[in-house]
């Protein structure tokens, strides 16, 4: 039996909004979990080290480029 267009639309709307909410709820949960885990592990100091080294590397690249 063919659904009417309007029926199809209502179904799509319900399923669509449902999916959007389920997905974003899952994302909220995942982000909150992630935040908790990250804060427990405190790996940020290590990360700061990275950016320092990066800056040095960029500086070196610039120097290398300049003194061609």
């Amino acid at each position: 039996m063919e659904q009417s267009l309007l029926n199809q639309g209502v179904t799509l709307m319900l399923v669509g909004m449902g999916t959007v909410f389920v997905f974003l709820t899952a994302l909220v949960v995942a982000m909150s979990l992630m935040a908790v885990i990250v804060r427990r592990m405190r790996p940020d100091t290590a990360v700061v080290d990275i950016s320092d080294e990066e800056i040095a590397a960029i500086g070196a690249a610039i120097r290398r480029h300049r003194c061609k």
Binding site: S4, L5, L6, Q8, G9, V10, L12, M13, V15, G16, M17, T19, V20, F21, V22, F23, L24, T25, A26, L27, V28, A30, M31, S32, M34, A35, V38, R39, P43, D44, V47, V48, I50, S51, E54, I58
Partner: protein, 376 residues
């Protein structure tokens, strides 16, 4: 003599149709909006000029072997241009405010109701015999309510390429009109005291969280809704390049040369769909009308969702930032900020509104994934 006749027959004056004249006027109008009114100039200027080129009679520009048609085939039919733009958006977007306050994702979710309500509206108009849209077309029209240009172009290119011109023009025009469309709706649905609600300062977000966020987002999409993975994947890739701190040269190029080049050709290619025979059809009127409705419903849904959250939680949200959930980054967030300042001159909502604002981008891409899953 015969040659002069040939020149005359080859001239635009001889060949031009009324529809082409009308489209040239419309495209000049788009340029006016972009240049003088500064409405989304990056897209309205390029789309508008592309539209001008597409309505020049007697020469292949937007058809056949013409540059604009080739660009359309290479960049839009394949989906490449909107996906690359999404990568650029990812590289330009700071998801910090969202990470600091994940709840605002619900506002970005609610605002997508505009998309599905419009889909329903388009099908309703068809049922009533006013318009004649298929389900795919209705879905492509609904996505205008996502207030996100590349998502709208991507979905329209997949589901209803013949409507792409009208859909893109509606999407960018209404995104530009956000400062006019949203405030009355926001004020209608909120009380003065609600608009004065102050929100707590956002917490700092660590670099590790910022790096893990795009990966988390991608994995969740992969597990739950793979059809949204091209859009969300490119967004996440751009954002990872931005945040990871080890590929800054790639991130810089993505945010500048690459997104600019693709924007130019995306605009021209979309403009190639503004030829009179494709744009001047009754469905265009319906699309423009429904697009406006989509924006209004999306705005209202975001605000109402914020009010609902205030009912359920002790930590209050200013309902104005719900309107930013439609995306239209960063215009909608600025509008929320401005309306908030009118009610309380010391209440800076901008960063709080950026949360739902970028959540709206993710929400629309998810809605796009749902549409594509059911339609193809």
């Amino acid at each position: 003599m015969q040659l002069i006749l040939e020149i005359w027959h080859g001239s635009g004056l001889y060949q031009i149709s009324g529809g082409q004249v009308a489209m040239i006027v419309i495209c000049l109008g788009l340029l006016y909006l972009g240049i003088v009114k500064k409405f989304e100039p990056l897209l309205l200027v390029t789309i508008g000029f592309g539209g001008l080129l597409s309505n020049i009679p007697g020469v292949e520009i937007a058809t056949g072997d013409g540059l604009l048609h080739l660009t359309y085939v290479v960049g839009i039919e394949t989906g490449a241009f909107p996906l690359i733009i999404f990568m650029g958006v990812g590289a330009l977007t700071d998801f910090g405010p969202l990470l600091a306050n994940p709840r605002t994702l619900f506002l970005g979710a609610a605002a997508q109701f505009g998309i599905f309500a419009t889909l329903l509206g388009a099908l309703g108009l068809t049922e009533l015999g006013v318009m004649d849209f298929t389900v795919k077309e209705a879905a492509a029209i609904g996505i205008i309510g996502g207030a996100d240009g590349p998502t709208a172009i991507y979905v329209a290119g997949q589901l209803a390429p013949h409507l792409l011109g009208a859909i893109a023009v509606a999407a960018y025009s209404y995104m530009a009109l956000v400062p006019l469309i949203q405030p009355p709706i926001m004020k209608l649905l909120t009380s003065e005291s609600e608009r004065k609600i102050q929100m707590v300062q956002l917490r700092e977000v660590s670099k590790t969280e910022r790096i893990l966020f795009p990966l988390t987002l991608l994995l969740l999409v992969a597990l739950l809704l793979p059809t949204a993975a091209p859009l969300i994947g490119m967004l996440a890739f751009g954002n990872l390049m931005r945040e990871c701190g080890v590929v800054d040269r790639l991130s810089d190029t993505t945010q500048n040369a690459l997104i600019n080049i693709v924007t130019i050709f995306l605009g021209l290619a979309v403009g190639s769909k503004l030829s009179a025979d494709q744009f001047l059809v009754t469905s265009t009127l319906g699309i423009l009308l429904l697009g406006m409705v989509a924006f209004a419903i999306g705005t209202a849904s975001g605000v109402l969702m914020a009010k609902l959250m205030n009912k359920l939680s002790t930590n209050p949200v200013n309902p104005l930032i719900g309107a930013a959930g439609v995306s239209a980054v960063p215009m909608a967030a600025r509008v929320a900020n401005k309306v908030g300042l009118e009610a309380n001159p010391h209440n800076i909502l901008l960063m709080h509104a950026m949360g739902p604002n970028v959540a709206g981008v993710i929400g629309s891409a998810i809605a796009a994934g749902v549409m594509i899953m059911f339609m193809t």
